[in-house]
């Protein structure tokens, strides 16, 4: 029996927009009939761009948000009928560093939450010492969280999710905004937890992270799962096209519309670097890459787009996303 079983979960948020006397009700479908299962010792990666519905999925599973329809079972308990039992079986790490008491020390935070999970004193003292060591905060245990760095706070928040050693773990973008070292540490710990037999749901919008950690990846877009399989199988599915990656300066978004009119090009997306607004990469999926390349370069040169590097690459999970939606993960 899978430890997590999600059955056709949907969520529609109703919000009001506009001014005081001119409010219009607006409906946002954050999730639309999502189903999946996760077994013991398995990591399911939920990969999708911002706003895809990943956080909503996590919050419904941990009973913070009420689903509009559908149900889910955590270790056999229904989120609708037995929310208390569900919470006992879940270790959850929500996004970001604002999940802790900043006016308490790292250790006090863990002690507080251990008590909420009904752990007795000896049990929790041992567990807390082990976890603080695990996430590299042993020396800073008695420092107020307000004096921690972002990386330290996120590692503490990770330790908090492991406090009561729940069979099912939910991590919502656990490495978002984290330095490379902390990210690596957290990824290694997640892989260790899989070995110990936890069922893990991990959301991310980093394709490398999903690829590296997941046994299966569910690609989610606009509240729907549009593909779900092992990362290698997903990548295999785009093997039939050639993938060209062009690094460029003075990149203009309109160029991709022009490229898409080429008969041999299936998809073209422009992905801008966060740091410099006008540089980035164009990703092109084409039938015969070598044959269309001269035409592509010609089109770029005509628009004064400075090409700095052209590579033919092996497909990534982002290419799977592009193939399915015509958009990049980052935009």
């Amino acid at each position: 029996m899978p430890l997590v079983e999600v059955q056709a979960l949907s969520k529609t948020f109703e919000t009001k927009e506009g001014r005081l006397f001119n409010r219009v009700a607006k409906k946002v479908t954050a999730l639309d009939g999502v189903s999946f299962t996760i077994s013991k010792g398995e990591i399911l990666g939920l990969l999708g761009p911002n706003g895809a519905g990943k956080t909503t999925m996590i919050k419904m599973l941990c009973t913070l948000v009420q689903p509009s329809s559908g149900d889910a079972y955590v270790n056999g308990f229904s989120i609708m009928k037995a929310p208390g039992k569900v919470r006992e079986n879940l270790g959850v790490m929500l996004t970001g560093e604002r999940t802790l008491y900043w006016k308490l020390t790292g250790k006090e935070n863990l002690e507080y939450f251990a008590a909420l999970y009904h752990m007795n004193r000896e049990e929790s003292a041992k567990r807390i010492e082990y976890l603080l060591d695990l996430v590299g905060l042993k020396d800073r245990a008695d420092t107020y969280v307000e004096n921690y760095s972002t990386g330290m706070r996120i590692r503490l928040s990770f330790a908090k999710a492991l406090l009561h050693d729940a069979p099912v773990l939910l991590f919502d973008e656990p490495t978002l905004g984290l330095d490379p070292q902390s990210s690596r540490l957290i990824r290694e710990m997640i892989l260790d937890l899989r070995k110990k037999g936890h069922a893990i749901l991990l959301t991310t919008h980093y394709m490398e992270e999903a690829d590296l950690l997941s046994d299966r990846v569910a690609i989610i877009d606009h509240g729907k799962i549009i593909a779900m399989a092992a990362p290698s199988a997903l990548k295999q599915s785009v093997k039939s096209s050639d993938i060209i990656e062009i690094e460029a300066r003075n990149l203009q978004p309109e160029i991709v519309e022009r490229l898409k009119t080429f008969t041999d090009i299936y998809d073209a997306v422009a992905l801008f670097n966060d740091s410099a607004a006008h540089s980035g990469v164009i990703k092109i999926h084409a039938e015969k890459g070598k044959e269309v390349l001269p035409g592509i370069l010609d089109a770029l040169v005509r628009r004064d787009i400075g090409v700095t590097k052209v590579t033919f690459i092996e497909p990534t999970l982002e290419d799977v996303f592009i193939e399915l939606t015509g958009r990049g993960l980052r935009d």
Binding site: C62, T63, L64, L94, T99, K103, H118
Partner: protein, 276 residues
Amino acid sequence: MTDIAGTTKALSAIFMKELKHYTRYPGNLAFLFAIPFLFTFMLSAMGTFVGGSNAAQYFFQRTGTQNFFVYQILGSAIWIMTWVVIEDLGSALRNEQIKGTLEQNFLAPINRFLLLVGVALAHIVISALIFIGVVFATVLVLQPGSLLSLFLAMLTLILGLTPMFGIAFIFSGFVIRFKEPYAFTQIVNMIFAVLAGTYYPVSVLPSWLQIVSRIIPQTYLIEDMRLIILFNKSLVDLYGHFILLGVMALVYPALGYYFFKRFENRAKVTGDLSKF
């Protein structure tokens, strides 16, 4: 671990966490001790200004006591204590909602009622401290004979504050759902201050308003405190009020929790537990 032991442990953790937060923002505590005195000085200056040299005499005729200062400090202190009770529970939850820790508490397999009660208990302690700091000090200086009655007054305080938590629970739910912490409490606290006879006997109010006063626990609390400390009344004299407060202490929190749950369920539908 047994259920009861686990629950007690969780409750004491919530209680201690709340107290720690109070002591780690000491400015707030100092403010709470100063306010009752400031209000009382302001009121007594007003009284002398309006009533002239006959003010004290007139006050005696209306209230039966010459101890103007003790009379007013009791009103002031209880007003501040109920203010703490009504507002701080909701604003504590509101702060946690903004900080993101409210969700973390709601993730734990504990009853929401436990969470409210844990925070509420911490505020009973804070209120008791205010009472000891403000009222004990005043009474010991101005009316040392009433030392014993202070302990009876303390009992009355605990009984009288319990129903106030019912109102605090409603407010907590309101805050989680609508995220407007002060619009509701400030109005309620001002109305209560007027209706509960903070600085005068309730009998000066129009009779229809006095009916409303009679459903506010604070009214009895203030009256009883004055009777106990200024007029040396005992439990036997006040048993009617005690029974009434006892009933309110059962009914109001239950009602309050009912409303809190309704607001909370609504917040789960709208996803408001973490919004700001």
